[in-house]
Symmetry: C2
Subunit: 224 residues, 2 copies
């Protein structure tokens, strides 16, 4: 009764770090980078602000960890779509492209997050390193899928094709995420498949994967 100090239960390093990262990402996705203050993050994570400094050397460290988490998740989401597709290189590539142009990868919140971090890329060397690694990893995945296609191409051509296809996907992802209602349902998937197919000399649209996977609806990016 003296002073009702907040009750709490210990949760340990792993859980708290994850909770703080998730809180930072959700705030940033909703309301932009400037909304992700230490107080707001702590509040959403159900702790007080001081705890951030207990688990991270500072806010910058938390943001760096959060960036790594979200970027990795986006590549994972694209890859997960083709994990169980076994029937041919073309189908796998088509699945990868389509997954990148559909939720939860193509998503306004995801783009808000990505944009919020992007401007940090130029100032913070460690953020830049994460960006570079993520971009190259994604492109390598794509290049591997392209290399598996039944066609002949030397290393130089393979690199150029991967860069071009990655460009199409990135550009369409960006525009579809930024202006969701400027495109019809599934329009960007079709366009993306046609474009990638044209670049590689294939008819990828023929492999148009089913619009729904086994999951009913993945509504949010931000939920863990």
């Amino acid at each position: 009764m003296t002073e009702d100090r907040r009750k709490f239960i210990r949760q340990g390093e792993e859980a708290r770090r994850e909770a703080l990262i998730a809180a930072a990402l959700s705030l940033m996705a909703e309301s932009g980078p400037e909304a992700a203050t230490v107080r707001a993050i702590a509040d959403r994570a159900g702790v007080t602000a001081g705890l951030i400094r207990h688990y991270f050397d500072g806010k910058d460290e938390l943001m760096l960890a959060a960036y790594g988490r979200i970027m990795g998740r986006m590549t994972e989401n694209s890859l997960a779509a083709i994990a169980h597709v076994g029937d041919g290189a073309e189908a796998r590539l088509a699945g990868f492209v389509a997954a990148s142009l559909r939720p939860p990868v193509m998503d306004p919140d995801a783009m808000g997050l990505w944009a919020g971090f992007l401007h940090l890329v130029r100032r913070d060397a460690r953020i830049r390193a994460v960006h570079r690694a993520t971009y190259l990893e994604y492109r390598d995945q794509l290049q591997r899928l392209i290399a598996a296609l039944p066609r002949q191409a030397d290393a130089r051509q393979l690199r150029a094709d991967a860069i071009a296809c990655n460009g199409v996907i990135d550009g369409l992802w960006l525009e579809g995420s930024a202006l969701p209602d400027a495109f019809d349902e599934g329009e960007l998937v079709t366009i993306g498949l046609q474009a990638v197919g044209a670049i590689l000399g294939l008819d990828l649209a023929a492999h148009l994967p089913p619009p729904f996977t086994d999951e009913p609806a993945p509504p949010e990016t931000r939920t863990e």
Copy 2:
């Protein structure tokens, strides 16, 4: 001698507004959105902070004006490259694509600026309107160039082609701006022309425009 108050000369609305917009853009390009504080902007424009409120209703208004300025300029820069190209629709399209993938359009500073504003797109309706208008205007320009090509395509196909080509350009622009040293000199121009050509069924690379225009070197985006 009493108190050395700062000397000044009157410059009038037009000049001051432009100076403040230019200052805001240059700060943002250099060091990100959070560096563009009212004090820093005023300082760079050679005035004191209070003047911003005299010419704009608030900082948000200044940022909105600045966003309109930079986005318009980027489309202009792409269009300027083909203003004096008269020999054929393919050559004009090739010039447009190439210009979008070279300085001053493709440029780390320009991308920093673009990214800095992008996350405002989701919160501020007026910023979003500018974004939408700029994107659609750019795409319409591209679509007009595509429509002028000697080939047959219905309206639906024309729209899809424009979206796809715009996607390639945007994606390559983004990656080349974000990671300039990940690509060879001129590599993205070549890849972009090949990709757009493949999508449209042309050999655009044959029209590869000269690497230099009549200007010696446009070094900076941020200078007016």
